[in-house]
Symmetry: D4
Subunit: 147 residues, 8 copies
Amino acid sequence: MRVYLSGEIHTDWRERIVAGAEGLGVEFSAPVTDHDASDDCGVAIMGSEAKKFWHDHKGAKLNAIRTRNAIEAADIVVVRFGEKYKQWNAAFDAGYAAALGTPLVVMHGAEHQHPLKEVDAAALAVTETPEQVVQILRYVLTGALPG
Amino acid sequence: MRVYLSGEIHTDWRERIVAGAEGLGVEFSAPVTDHDASDDCGVAIMGSEAKKFWHDHKGAKLNAIRTRNAIEAADIVVVRFGEKYKQWNAAFDAGYAAALGTPLVVMHGAEHQHPLKEVDAAALAVTETPEQVVQILRYVLTGALPG
Amino acid sequence: MRVYLSGEIHTDWRERIVAGAEGLGVEFSAPVTDHDASDDCGVAIMGSEAKKFWHDHKGAKLNAIRTRNAIEAADIVVVRFGEKYKQWNAAFDAGYAAALGTPLVVMHGAEHQHPLKEVDAAALAVTETPEQVVQILRYVLTGALPG
Amino acid sequence: MRVYLSGEIHTDWRERIVAGAEGLGVEFSAPVTDHDASDDCGVAIMGSEAKKFWHDHKGAKLNAIRTRNAIEAADIVVVRFGEKYKQWNAAFDAGYAAALGTPLVVMHGAEHQHPLKEVDAAALAVTETPEQVVQILRYVLTGALPG
Amino acid sequence: MRVYLSGEIHTDWRERIVAGAEGLGVEFSAPVTDHDASDDCGVAIMGSEAKKFWHDHKGAKLNAIRTRNAIEAADIVVVRFGEKYKQWNAAFDAGYAAALGTPLVVMHGAEHQHPLKEVDAAALAVTETPEQVVQILRYVLTGALPG
Amino acid sequence: MRVYLSGEIHTDWRERIVAGAEGLGVEFSAPVTDHDASDDCGVAIMGSEAKKFWHDHKGAKLNAIRTRNAIEAADIVVVRFGEKYKQWNAAFDAGYAAALGTPLVVMHGAEHQHPLKEVDAAALAVTETPEQVVQILRYVLTGALPG
Amino acid sequence: MRVYLSGEIHTDWRERIVAGAEGLGVEFSAPVTDHDASDDCGVAIMGSEAKKFWHDHKGAKLNAIRTRNAIEAADIVVVRFGEKYKQWNAAFDAGYAAALGTPLVVMHGAEHQHPLKEVDAAALAVTETPEQVVQILRYVLTGALPG
Amino acid sequence: MRVYLSGEIHTDWRERIVAGAEGLGVEFSAPVTDHDASDDCGVAIMGSEAKKFWHDHKGAKLNAIRTRNAIEAADIVVVRFGEKYKQWNAAFDAGYAAALGTPLVVMHGAEHQHPLKEVDAAALAVTETPEQVVQILRYVLTGALPG
């Protein structure tokens, strides 16, 4: 099973899911999580831009090669919203997965419940912790429940 | 031509586009923009919920009947990000339209350029004002440029 | 908006929805609800069968011409489960609509909540009465809530 | 070849098919067939619910991650209807597979012939026993007939 | 409802269906049934060919513009096999419609039952006369049975 | 590369292609070519039928499980028309492949050029011998031409 | 019938087709054929760019809103290659239409036969003059041949 | 990851990409790049043609078996435009990939910037050298930037 881990890149939630899912045979993918590389990849490879818009544009399109392919290949898309920042790319990925009909698992804190209601409504599971995502993957793959 | 106007519901940007595009033969659609109705529609029709999560869930799903159909029917999806709030549903709609391959026009102020770079990268036009969107619709339909 | 009314054919729920939605501009479709015609249509047109299986088979396929086209054309599929009978064709239609990604509204009494949980989980709205369905159609089309 | 075994979970029909198909190289999948785990998985992982509807809802959606992926990946979907219970999820799966155009094999006793006529009409084979399903798989894969 | 009438072009079966379905609001389409025009259209418009293969090739491709569009637009594809000739284009159209998932109605005499079994197996109705097709269209559209 | 070999089952053309393509890494599939098994498979497994139509129907549907899956999985569909018989299933398969957009290679003698013009017009290659098909497979896979 | 007229914008071929097809009920669409407007539309509406690449980029994307929608809505795509210029956008449109499975009619002079062979191979008709295209449209719609 | 390398066949750009991407686990595909074989393959296998148009037609269709399958299987399509020739097949492939939604990387010199603006507008990256393509592949697969 291929699982794409989209969204927040400032905490270790991906590592905790990957570690927790060891032995389940899940193939994880993710965006490039090195913030600087992700921001500058376009100009680093294809030449600098005077305007910030095009600097970002080149990078965002280059990253889209990776993320679109990964979302389209995924059996499950997990999207985590962190406590800070706009994170519109996370919501964009959730919408993209929803339109493809790919099962969506959302992770976020209680403080974001209301503004994420449309995203949650498109999800097959709404979680708060990486451990819950691991439990979901284990249940989906093996039928085993925690405890 | 059918145009879906997604996103921010606190200013008159939709009215300005609709007024400006008069005579072009565009059929506009939009989410329910009455904030209270949109929040409470689920429980108002299908019964109250003790938990806020399910209150919101019922409403968000009911709204999804309208928004999914409108996005899937649209020839162009315009998504506006305002100055305030999380607006994750706007980014979700943009991702949904992108996955369908529907031409996407984004509208936002310069202050949001960086966090919206992935959304902008998926768009065929990035604008700042309703008037620019009107000009785009006029050009796309008639070939006429402003001025 | 095209709405397909699938399921139970022994009560007047379709008439109540159609009457309630008057003036909303909804185009309703439904299976043939004349029970005898629906059962015997195949052999009436294409010749009798000695075995009940093929008698039913010819009819079910002929009805499928109508129902498949109607479901595929629908913007919303409403499926009602009544109090009696197996009603597997209703659940079949719900699954069909779900796979197409068509918004699904389910109607059933509280006594069927548990065995319909998988169907409800695929729905964007779960209702108990035709009046609620009318309220949903009115809200989706006009944004107006009851009361 | 991937075969999804949907439906009734109270008898050993899956085991008999899997055992009978040994050596054919078929990769079988199925829903979680532990009845309690299937019912309670949602609340066990994502927290309890006061209302039975949401208790069931969370579980049904979580199970849908597994079943949707399995049906969409399947080359053949086998759906068995047992003697008891509503089994609407089985009919839902059959409709889902039919809409995807996936070859459908139905299994049920003669007593259910009439109420299942729409489901049977969508199937490429209608059987009564697991042994017939094994014979079908063997024939489809090797061309060999029984006896 | 749009109905495409494919196949045999030597008898008046299309006229009988069109006349019989008067008042039902069906929009019929068909291939060019002028045999000479159909055979020579390619070279008549795009220049003659020394080799019969290319003469036929140009015509067949030109006819395909009409037939592909008509089949893809149809809600029902009716394919009639007459008593004579190879009629491989009729079977080709049936396969094309089957792959699109468009409801297929086949018409042929009893003498062709065995060689058409694969085509019949993909059909939702197998008929022998234009009158039966009219009865099917009437039933599908109005629920009325003959007699 | 997966190649489906459809059509005539009375000569050794499949064996000649498979033998000629040895070493190219092609994975071939085909319908069941044992004529009696193919005709009787339905009743042999699912019970006899008094009417020839249903005898054939059960068999044709069962065979469709194999052929639909094989055509949908194929990268190239080769369809051979022999000198005798109606072979409508071959033309049906060609139409099915054409609708899926799968590259089609047709094989037939010169005597069938005219009645097969619509099928040939949908093909990317029209051949007369198994050896030509092998040369096509070798060229497509390796770029090597004969001689 | 909707026909998109793609390609060369320096001669009156579109006008000749539209005039010739009068009375056939064809709805024609085309890119913006005002060369300056087409080149500058992006910056005229969304602001100037210092780099020619981004000047062109903004315009090309804006034009894509019109052309993608028109190609996706078309029943036939006609692509004309003129005598001069690179005309890569014409070939791009042809490839786009081919991937969608939309019937493609190509128009070009004999001097371009060899470099356009891949495009011609994807077409259902290859013509040299607007009059031939008109004859094709008339034949496809009415069955009438010229002369 | 599967990458299709389309376009110019007169320089060693493919070899440089393949060599540069060693160790990344990319599976490359390409059209037949032997110019004479590519031109003559159709007649070499399926018999000579008097007219150059059909000579080319047979070859172009045969090559299309390879190229269509490769483009449809690709995760990324790279299209290079060289300094000379019309290269309409390259632009055709770009349009084909764009319509499929496959990430597109374009490579060309600055002198072709203006006539390729529509193609560039459909791309997720626009490059000038094979080394940049290698850097893109490395970044997309590993997140590593050059230098």
